[in-house]
C-alpha cells in the first residue's frame, strides 16, 4: 500500500470535530488569555501587558473582591468535599448491598435533584427557606427547634454555607452513582475471601472496598473541584449577580460575570473579565495538574 499519500478519509473523519473544537473552545480560551493583556480607553484597544493583573491583585478596590470571591469559592469547595462526597459514598455503599430491595427506586429518586436546573433548585430552596412562606420555620417548630431558624440566605454569615449545602443536595447523585459503579465492579471472590478471614460488615467496607474505590474518589474530587471553581448558575439564580447579602456569596464565576457585563452603575469591562477568567484558568489548571501528577499516579489501580 502507498503509505506516502495522504489518507483523505482520516482527514474527513477528523476535520469537523477538530475544527469546531478548535474554533469554539481552544481558540477562544487562548484569545481570552490574550485579551487579559489589553485594555480599552476611549474605544481604542491597546496592549498593557500585566497591567490588568496588577490592578486585580494590587488595587484594593479589585483585590478585596478577588480574594473575597476566591476565599468563598474555597469554602464552597471544602463544604462539597466534606459533606457531598462522604454522604454520596455512604449512600452508594448502602445501595450496593447485594439483595437490597427497591435499590433501583432509591437510585432513581436520589438522582432526581441532579437533573433539575439551577433556576428550579435555587428558587425552590429560596421559597422553602423564606421567612415569609414559613415552611422551614414551621417544620423546625414542629420538632421544637424553632429557635434554630434564621433567614439563612439573607444573613451574611450563613448564606454561603446554605448555598453550598443546596448545591450538595443537588449534586449528591453524581458521587453516589460513580462510587456505586465502582463498588459493583469489585468481584464477589474478593469479598468472600475477606469473609473467610472474618472481615465483614463495616470492616469489610473500610479494609477491602474503600481502598479499591480510591481511584473513583479521586475522580469525584477533581470533578467537584472543576465544577465548583467554574460555578455560577446557582448563586446567580438564588442571589442575583450581586451575590448578596453584601457579596458574602460571591464566587469567581459571579465576580467574572459582574466584571465582564457590568452591573448597576459600573460598566462592563471585557479585559478585566478576561483577567479574572485567566485567574480561574490558572486555578483549575493547577488543580487538574495536582490531580493528574500528584494523586492519580500514586493511587494503585486494581485490574480484575
Amino acid at each position: 500500500m502507498n503509505t506516502s499519500k495522504i489518507k483523505w478519509h482520516i482527514v474527513v473523519f477528523l476535520a469537523p470535530a477538530v475544527l469546531v473544537y478548535t474554533a469554539i473552545m481552544i481558540f477562544p480560551l487562548f484569545n481570552t488569555l490574550r485579551l487579559a493583556l489589553y485594555s480599552e480607553t476611549d474605544q481604542v484597544t491597546h496592549f498593557v501587558g500585566m497591567e490588568n493583573f496588577r490592578t486585580l491583585f494590587g488595587d484594593p478596590l479589585w483585590s478585596n473582591q478577588f480574594w473575597n470571591a476566591l476565599g468563598n469559592n474555597m469554602r464552597f469547595f471544602v463544604i462539597h468535599m466534606i459533606v457531598q462526597n462522604p454522604i454520596g459514598i455512604a449512600l452508594a455503599a448502602i445501595l450496593s448491598h447485594p439483595r437490597l430491595r427497591f435499590a433501583a427506586f432509591y437510585r432513581t429518586a436520589i438522582f432526581i435533584p441532579t437533573i433539575l436546573s439551577f433556576v428550579i433548585v435555587g428558587f425552590a430552596w429560596k421559597l422553602i427557606l423564606s421567612p415569609i412562606w414559613g415552611i422551614a420555620p414551621d417544620m423546625l417548630a414542629s420538632i421544637g427547634l424553632k429557635s434554630l431558624y434564621a433567614p439563612w440566605l439573607g444573613k451574611e454569615e450563613y448564606a454561603l454555607t446554605t448555598l453550598a449545602l443546596i448545591s450538595v443536595w443537588q449534586f449528591i447523585g453524581i458521587p453516589m452513582m460513580l462510587i456505586y459503579a465502582a463498588l459493583l465492579s469489585i468481584p464477589e471472590e474478593v469479598l468472600e475471601a475477606g469473609e473467610v478471614d472474618g472481615i465483614t460488615g463495616f470492616s469489610a467496607f473500610w479494609k477491602i472496598k474503600l481502598p479499591l474505590i480510591l481511584p473513583s474518589i479521586g475522580i469525584i474530587s477533581i470533578l467537584t473541584f472543576v465544577g465548583n471553581f467554574n460555578a455560577f448558575d446557582l448563586i446567580y439564580a438564588a442571589q442575583g449577580a450581586l451575590a448578596g447579602p453584601n457579596f458574602s456569596t460571591d464566587i469567581l464565576g459571579t465576580f467574572m460575570f459582574r466584571t465582564f457585563f457590568g452591573f448597576q452603575l459600573q460598566l462592563g469591562d471585557p479585559h478585566m473579565g478576561s483577567a479574572i477568567a485567566s485567574g480561574m484558568f490558572g486555578i483549575i489548571l493547577v488543580g487538574v495538574c495536582i490531580y493528574l501528577f500528584g494523586i492519580q499516579t500514586r493511587l494503585r489501580r486494581y485490574q480484575f
Binding site: A17, M25, L100, I110, S117, L127, N230, S274
Partner: protein
C-alpha cells in the same frame, strides 16, 4: 453463601437511611408541585397540605400561559438540545473512529489534544466567545448556543466513543474491506450501528447540562425570541417574585420537561454511569 451479610437489622437500617435521604431529595420538588395548584391563601396557611376542593386553583398556570412565552422557550431549548446532540454524536463518532481505527502520525497527540477539553471548562473562554459571536453576527441566535455546546460536548464524546470503537471486531471491518466497501461505508453501515449503546450514553450525558445551562443563554442569546426554557423561567420568576401562584406554576412547568426526559432515559443514564463509561 454469606449469612454474615444478611442481617435483618442491618437491612432495616439501610432502608431507613435510604428512605430518609429519598425524602430529603424529593421534598422540595413535592412542595413546589402541590402548592402550584393551591390558592394564595392556602399556600401560606398550610404549605404542606395537598390541594383539595376548596383550595384547588389553576390561576398560577393561567398567568404563566398569558404572560410568558413558554412554548417558544420550550421550542428553543428543544432545538438547541437536539441539534447539539446530533452534531456531537456525528462529529464525535467520526473523530473517535479515526482515532480508534487508523494508525497515523500524531494519533496519540490528537487524542490528547481533544481530551484537554474534558477537564477545562469552556466557560473560561466566554469573553472571547462572545466577541467572536458578535463579530460573526451569530449573537442572539440559536446557532451560537448549538456551536458552543457542540464544542463543549465533543471531548468527552470522542473519549467515550473511541473506547467503544476499539472493541468492534477487526474481522468484521476487514470482511467489509475485502468486499470492497469504502472506509465511509464501513463507518456508517458497520461500526455506527454497533456502538449505538455508547452513543445513547453520550447523548444522555450531554442532554441534561445543555438543557439546564443558564450561563451561555444569558450571555449569548438573551433576546426574547431565542430564550431557552431555563433562561425564560429565570427571567419570568424574577419579574413575578411577589406572585407566588405564578412563580410556583412556572417552576412546576420548568420541572416537567426534564422529569419526562429523565423518566424516559433514566435507565440509559444510570446504565451509562455504572458501566464505567466515565472512568
Amino acid at each position: 453463601m454469606s449469612t454474615a451479610r444478611a442481617n435483618p437489622l442491618n437491612s432495616m437500617a439501610a432502608h431507613a437511611a435510604l428512605i430518609t435521604y429519598t425524602l430529603i431529595a424529593l421534598f422540595p420538588v413535592f412542595v413546589i408541585l402541590i402548592n402550584s395548584f393551591k390558592t394564595r391563601k392556602a399556600i401560606f396557611r398550610d404549605p404542606l397540605a395537598l390541594p383539595d376542593g376548596d383550595t384547588f386553583t389553576m390561576i398560577g398556570y393561567q398567568t404563566v400561559m398569558k404572560q410568558g412565552d413558554f412554548f417558544l422557550y420550550f421550542q428553543n431549548s428543544m432545538i438547541v438540545t437536539v441539534a447539539t446532540l446530533f452534531f456531537v454524536l456525528l462529529f464525535g463518532a467520526m473523530a473517535a473512529f479515526a482515532l480508534a481505527e487508523y494508525r497515523f502520525k500524531g494519533n496519540l497527540l490528537m487524542g490528547l489534544y481533544l481530551a484537554l477539553g474534558i477537564m477545562i471548562p469552556i466557560r473560561i473562554g466566554t469573553v472571547a466567545i462572545l466577541e467572536m459571536m458578535v463579530s460573526t453576527g451569530l449573537v442572539n441566535s440559536l446557532w451560537a448556543l448549538i456551536l458552543v455546546y457542540t464544542a463543549q460536548g465533543l471531548p468527552l464524546a470522542v473519549f467515550i466513543l473511541s473506547e467503544f470503537m476499539r472493541q468492534v471486531s477487526e474481522d468484521l471491518k476487514n470482511a467489509g474491506r475485502i468486499d470492497g466497501l469504502s472506509e465511509y461505508t464501513i463507518f456508517f453501515r458497520l461500526v455506527l450501528p454497533l456502538v449505538r449503546p455508547a452513543m445513547a450514553t453520550v447523548a444522555v450525558f450531554n442532554m441534561i447540562p445543555i438543557w439546564n445551562d443558564l450561563w451561555f443563554p444569558l450571555i449569548l442569546a438573551p433576546a426574547e425570541e431565542t430564550k431557552t426554557l431555563t433562561l425564560g423561567s429565570q427571567v419570568f420568576i424574577g419579574q413575578f417574585v411577589t406572585d407566588w401562584n405564578a412563580v410556583l406554576s412556572a417552576l412546576s412547568l420548568a420541572i416537567l420537561p426534564v422529569m419526562i426526559l429523565y423518566v424516559i432515559f433514566s435507565r440509559q443514564l444510570i446504565r451509562g454511569i455504572t458501566s464505567g463509561a466515565v472512568k
